[in-house]
Amino acid sequence: MKWLGLILALLASLLAAIVLGPASVPAGELLHSPIFWELRLPRALLGVLVGGSLGVAGASLQSLVRNPLADPFLLGLSGGAGLGAVSAIALHLGGAWTLPLAAFAGALLALGLVFRLGLVAGSVLDPRVLLLGGVAVGAFCGAVTTAIVTLAEASELRNAFLWLWGGLSGASWQTVTLMAVYVPVPLVVLLAAARPLDLLTLGEEPARHLGADVLATRRRVYLAASLLTAAAVAVTGVIGFVGLIVPHLGRALFGGRHRVLLPASFLAGGILLVLADTLARTAVAPRELPVGIVTALVGVPLFVLLLRRWTAD
């Protein structure tokens, strides 16, 4: 029943995203309209893929670093991606493909650096050190990014600013196809680690006594979740709160078992982002809000509500 509800909610949010928009298209002509085929449909599908990726990455990372406040960007990826993107803009390389590529490269650089910092004694990935490394790398990248933005020209500044707050306006069939091919790989890796992730929530030693290969699980989960996040941030910029809120919603509705939680987080992340993007496109039409602002405006009250529920229990 819950699954059916989630799938229906996804379809409803997709429908809303396709029907609603600044340009009014009569319902009868929707299927023949380029606005539908070239703009709204790919944008909605990209929203599902990116929102879903962020939801799954957040759920996995919260269990990996054993911190319910972890989100996909906590480990420095947003900083790396932002630095990559802003560097590209500053170098006048902000094309349709070079910008996401530069962001992806920046995210991968941060990912590698944080992973290396998180390795203790050569091969042991320590989540606490990982967390500190992520914060350090993120802060450093953020400082360099701000320095570049400060020195940039006004028009570049606005571009960089918009990118940093995230948005789905770059959606096209190419980006949808690219993500649809890329995303399943880390998703499968994370799903395969679902049971060890359940065990990791008990702590390292209990997990090992229950049969988890803790070190291999940590490496796989960190890399897969980070690769998901890197792709998401490359095509849409930094969209906050989806990866933080969605796993908690998923746990409240479906319980903590990752075999159920991860797929549920994918669907819920997709729904949340598609709805937030629809709001971002229509609220101040014909202008558009960065979707990251909408997810924050929706996400923060939602999170406060969840917090109150916890503390009430």
């Binding site: 919260q62 269990s63 054993r66 319910p68 395969a192 680690a193 679902a194 049971r195 359940d198 065990l199 929530t201 008990l202 702590g203 030693e205 209990p206 090992r208 006594h209 229950l210 049969g211 988890a212 290969d213 746990r251 319980g255 903590g256 078992r257 229990d313």
Partner: protein, 264 residues
């Protein structure tokens, strides 16, 4: 190898990185099925370290630790978890969990990454809940349990692994008298009824002497005495190990120690 021998630790030494002295020095411990062994000793005597080395979490510097004849460190963790069920000293649940959910984790050693839970897995969970008398708590949240209930639930999770050896690290710390007795009786019953082997780390010397078949008394990483309770709990040895004057009496033909007051 004698029949039923499950855990075989021989002459093991171990030192934590950066530590000044050995945590274990020449320790041996053999446990067979149907046997209840209690590990005793003051804080820092090496009890938990011995468990970790025996179960392959630390590699011994010298000597060997084997489970069913295979070196503990060579076992894949998942396969080892089908032989040995452990109730560790500490764990903390990151997210709220219900009793049945946590006991279901005990079936993971028997499940592949993509296999769904089978009827036999659900049956094993219910059996484990029954044996530990926690069926009535199955839908409660873990944090809503009393200390004694919580320990029984964790034992149920270890039993759901359907192990041949059960290892419990200080399960009765912070339990009141009744819950402590219930826990010792539960472990004794599992050993007698199911032919399980049990290793129990505890500070309760007297209950260990009443319930266990054998005691192993550790001090400073060395076995100071091992064998039947009557052999191990001799006054001179116990006084030296615990560093306190004692007197020895007897209940049910088992030795019991009572610490004496220094100033009366």
């Amino acid at each position: 190898m004698d029949r039923g021998l499950i855990l075989d630790v021989k002459d093991v030494s171990f030192r934590y990185a950066g530590a000044a002295r050995d945590a274990l020095a020449g320790v041996s411990l053999a446990v067979s099925s149907g046997e209840f062994v209690a590990l005793l000793g003051p804080n820092g005597s090496g009890k938990t370290t011995l468990v970790r080395v025996a179960l392959g979490l630390h590699a011994p510097w010298t000597g060997s630790a084997a489970v069913l004849g295979r070196p503990a460190g060579e076992w894949p963790r998942q396969a080892l978890a089908r032989i040995v069920g452990v109730v560790p000293q500490r764990e903390d649940n990151l997210f709220p969990q219900r009793v049945r959910e946590t006991v279901r984790l005990g079936r993971y050693p028997h499940l592949g990454a993509w296999t769904a839970e089978r009827a036999e897995d659900r049956a094993a969970v219910e059996r484990a809940l029954e044996r530990c008398d926690v069926v009535a708590l199955a839908d409660r949240w873990l944090w809503a349990l009393s200390g004694g209930e919580y320990q029984r639930v964790r034992i149920a999770r270890a039993l759901a692994q359907e192990p041949q050896l059960l290892v419990l690290d200080e399960p009765t710390a912070s339990l009141d008298l009744r819950h402590e007795m219930e826990l010792f009786e539960l472990v004794r019953g599992l050993v007698d009824g199911q032919g399980l082997a049990a290793v129990l780390v505890t500070h309760d010397v007297n209950l260990a002497a009443r319930f266990a078949d054998r005691l192993v008394l550790l001090a400073d990483g060395v076995v100071r005495a091992a064998g039947s309770p009557a052999d191990v709990l001799r006054r001179d040895v116990a006084e030296a190990v615990f560093g306190w004057p004692l007197t020895i009496s007897s209940v049910d033909d088992r030795p019991q120690i009572t610490p004496l007051r220094r100033h009366t």
